[in-house]
């Protein structure tokens, strides 16, 4: 039950953050709320339940803050941090790779304008003819 609630609270975090830190956070969370992996239970059940709920709430609110911060950074400074949540060489590469591919494609197109123009004309004729026929 606690594990399920923890997973729900973790949904507030961005996917890349969960991928990088969720296992560690669960381990620390289990110890903090004494789920049999940390110190022996010395407190009442009610107290532990309240503490678990409070920790889950803080986790969730912290996750929303992280999601907002990640969205904000990505929207306004897309290349602000390449190594999102990961040490060098292990970061989540999807957006960085896509951006590099697009830049490369645009540079190649600008370098050979004749080929680019022919490609665009061929595409335009093909799409136009198909649209007219069907």
């Amino acid at each position: 039950m606690t594990r399920t609630l923890f997973r729900v609270a973790m949904l507030a975090y961005p996917w890349a953050f969960r991928r990088r830190f969720a296992a560690e956070m669960w381990s620390d969370f289990a110890r903090t709320v004494d789920l049999g992996t940390g110190a022996p239970h010395r407190t009442s059940r009610t107290y532990r339940t309240c503490r678990t709920c409070r920790t889950l709430c803080t986790l969730f609110s912290s996750g929303l803050a992280e999601r907002w911060a990640a969205t904000h950074r990505f929207l306004f400074w897309p290349s602000h941090r390449l190594h999102l949540y990961e040490p060098s060489g292990r970061h989540f590469m999807f957006w960085d790779t896509l951006r590099s591919d697009l830049q490369h494609a645009i540079r190649l197109a600008a370098k050979s304008p004749l080929i680019t123009a022919l490609t665009i004309v061929a595409l335009a004729l093909g799409i136009g003819a198909n649209s007219a026929i069907f």
Binding site: S27, T58, Y85
Partner: protein, 110 residues
């Protein structure tokens, strides 16, 4: 980088002794501050993410204590840049404290 956030500086202080994993950092901060600073996992790992991205700390490739039995734990340590930034922050705070003492706001001199 300076001034650092209080949580970031606490983490750098906890790592000044050597490499630690996340839960060990939590315990160290709570013990040293006499429970005055209470970190929870969300705050800690958000701060760790910022420090990792800024190259102030780094993750160890392998566990320094293989006999600890928990292979999943990731250990962190200060980088050279992290040490320099922590030192700069400590000097900044020291300068502020000196000023506070000089103006009798702290530790009134006998």
């Amino acid at each position: 980088m300076v001034p650092l956030t209080p949580v970031a500086f606490e983490i750098l202080l906890a790592l000044a002794d050597g490499e630690r994993h996340g839960y060990s950092i939590l315990q160290e901060v709570e013990t040293r501050s006499g429970n005055a600073v209470s970190l929870h996992a969300g705050t800690l790992y958000r701060a760790l993410a910022r420090l990792l991205e800024s190259d102030l700390i780094e993750e160890l490739r392998s566990s320094p204590d293989p006999s600890s039995g928990d292979e999943r734990r990731r250990y962190y340590r200060l980088t050279q840049r992290g040490i320099a930034v922590a030192r700069a922050e400590a000097e900044r705070l020291d300068s502020q404290l000196s000023c506070a003492r000089a103006r009798r706001l702290l530790g009134a001199r006998v």
